[in-house]
């Protein structure tokens, strides 16, 4: 049997291998890289959301296109693409994988290294943003096939994907908060239920002007209303509509501020009570 001392002579090259803090960005990149490598090994985490988004995109167009009528300059397909994108990217995160790390004590292994605690969380989130951006592609391609064109041009596509990805990140914070607080995979999966009120109490399927009184009022308080408005302005408008884009960015920032506060508080709690015997 080969032993460590057969291959490492004391006092020779072993002396030069010494641990040191790697730096925040290095830590973040290392954690994000691990999270991204895990994605193709866990296709069930990304295929269902895309399938659901594509399914509802097609079905909603078939169901509601005629009901919404024909107005000059209005395309229900373009209108609905924003909803489909949100269905595809909301709730997509590595939070369930983080629960597995808690359960297998792999999180403890990470915490035993000099890695910055925030880099563990932000590394996962950086991977999530990348995955969300990729997941928008099938929906954008289907939209293009169905005739959707971006009023804001090619840069509008980038802005569309960026807004969708940042929304995905903002919402993912709730999943991470639940993951770190409970360590329970079922609880994390149920985080998507939080999205239902966001999704249905707004202008997901018809323009806000068509909503009835109380629903219109509630939609006014729903950040998703402004996010959808910003996304739709890129495909339905007359170009860059900064007011609506600003409202969309503010809506993402508002939800993100809440979710990030919760998930970083959960991280602090998890680190503090980590691995109780």
């Amino acid at each position: 049997m080969t032993t460590i001392t057969d291959v490492i002579s004391p006092g020779t090259h072993i002396a030069v291998v010494r641990a040191r803090p790697a730096g925040f960005l290095h830590d973040l990149a290392a954690i994000a890289g691990r999270a991204l490598r895990a994605v193709p090994r866990d296709p069930t985490a990304v295929i269902p959301p895309v399938f659901i988004a594509l399914f509802f995109f097609v079905v909603n167009i078939a169901t509601l296109k005629k009901v919404t009528g024909h107005h000059p300059g209005f395309s229900y397909t373009a209108f609905e693409m924003a909803t489909a994108i949100l269905l595809g990217v909301t709730g997509v995160s590595r939070a369930p994988a983080l629960v597995l790390d808690v359960q297998t004590h792999y999180l403890d292994r990470l915490l035993l290294t000099p890695v910055r605690r925030t880099a563990i969380l932000l590394g996962h989130m950086a991977a999530d943003v990348s995955v969300a951006a990729v997941l928008t592609a099938p929906i954008l391609i289907l939209g293009a096939v169905l005739g959707v064109r971006f009023a804001a041009g090619p840069a509008g596509i980038v802005a569309f994907v960026l807004l969708a990805s940042l929304w995905s990140l903002a919402f993912a914070g709730f999943g991470y908060a639940i993951a770190l607080k409970t360590g329970n995979p079922a609880a994390v999966n149920s985080a998507f239920l939080l999205f239902f009120p966001f999704l249905f109490l707004t202008s997901s399927y018809v323009p806000r002007s068509q909503l009835s009184g109380w629903l219109n009022t509630v939609a006014g308080f729903n950040p998703v209303t402004y996010l959808l408005g910003g996304l739709r302005s890129l495909v339905l408008g007359t170009g860059w509509q900064w007011g609506q884009l600003g409202e969309a960015a503010a809506a993402i920032a508002f939800v993100g501020a809440i979710s990030m506060t919760l998930c970083f508080a959960a991280l602090r709690g998890r680190v503090k009570r980590s691995s109780q015997a």
Binding site: M1, I4, T5, A19, R109, R273, S274, A277
Partner: protein, 342 residues
């Protein structure tokens, strides 16, 4: 309620000598404690472990071994006392401690979807190893743990022994000064266990790594530890070399398994010349004698005089379990762990 860990005393006046000596220890703890709710899992622990020692921490399940390790390796805050590892305060300087320790926890902390190679690489990157150093360490550790091509397979496909070896390698990636091994051979077959023992010995003897080894296996503690702390109910009840500890209960031990109430037999046996002590544990009379061979026949006669039925009479040298038995009245190894270790 969680209270802050006690601040380290200032280095002034009379305690200057003490502070200097603390720094000489690889692991030092004073009055270390951890409570969970109202339960004190670790209750005022003192440790002074010099660099280069294999310190065995022996005790039954639930004695506080793992909680102690978690505190010393910065994963769990103490609720009282002070500890330093590799010269750094675990509460005030956890980052410095983490750079200098390697830890293999009781449950091999591995990601089943990563390959062994990916796990070791990530570990090395988080410890700030350069690409060149990391490549060299991976080659060295790959040979050490003898996983060969399996390093490129997902860890979820590994056997228990392979996982343990990978876990050990992960704890060594950055050449730590102090290694904590929390029950490193639990669940391993005898061959794998012997291999791990051999590596622990070599890491200590040839690289001078200080090793803090928790175990519930008597043979493991006996075989590996330079010095042992026996822990029960969160407190160290005895400390010394294995030989010192065993000598503390007498030179030889005679065990008589009897039927019926052993009270009268105990009195008769205690009167036998050369018998140091007699303790009753269930149906066992545990007799400590300075010279077991000389005392065996008189003990047998005394038992016969007591009119008790003796089912078995054996003589052996004392074990660490005898030490634990004398100190606490219980056994370290329960039925399951004996089966594990057999």
């Amino acid at each position: 309620m969680t209270t802050a860990i006690r601040a380290r005393p200032g280095v002034t006046g009379n305690n200057r000598q003490q502070a200097a000596s603390e720094a000489d220890y690889a692991i030092y703890a004073r009055d270390l404690a951890r409570s969970f709710g109202g339960v004190r899992a670790v209750d005022g622990l003192d440790l002074e472990i010099p660099a280069g020692e294999i310190y065995g921490f022996l005790g039954p399940n639930g004695a506080g071994k793992s909680t102690t390790v978690l505190m010393l390796c910065t994963l769990l805050a103490a609720t009282g006392g002070y500890a330093q590892v590799a010269g750094y305060d675990v509460a005030a300087q956890p980052g410095q401690v983490r750079l200098r320790i390697g830890v293999a926890l009781q449950d091999a902390a591995l990601d089943p979807k990563q390959t062994g190679s990916e796990l070791l690489q990530l570990q090395g990157r988080l410890y700030g190893l350069s690409k060149r150093d990391l490549a060299r360490r991976l080659a060295e550790l790959g040979e050490l743990i003898e996983l060969g091509d399996a390093l490129e397979r997902p860890i979820g496909t590994y056997s228990g022994g392979m996982k343990r070896r990978l876990d050990l390698a992960a704890s060594l990636v950055h050449n730590p000064e102090v290694v904590f091994l929390d029950e490193p051979t639990t669940g391993l077959d005898p061959a794998s266990r012997a291999r791990v023992w051999s590596e622990i010995r070599r890491l200590n003897q040839e690289l001078g790594i200080t090793i803090f080894l928790t175990t519930q296996y008597l043979a493991e503690a006996d075989e590996l530890a330079d010095r042992l702390g026996i822990i029960a109910s969160g407190r160290i009840v005895a400390e010394g070399t294995p030989a010192e500890l065993k000598r503390s209960v007498g030179t030889d031990v005679i065990v008589a398994k009897v039927e019926g109430e052993p009270g009268r037999a105990r009195q008769l046996v205690a009167a036998v010349p050369g018998v140091r002590s007699v303790e009753v544990h269930g149906s066992d009379l545990v007799i400590a004698a300075a010279d077991g061979s000389a005392a065996l026949s008189p003990v047998a006669l005394a038992l016969a005089d007591s009119a008790m039925t003796v089912r078995e009479l054996t003589m052996r040298t004392p074990t660490l379990d005898d030490v634990f038995l004398e100190l606490t009245g219980g056994h370290i190894e329960n039925k399951n762990t004996e089966e594990d270790s057999s």
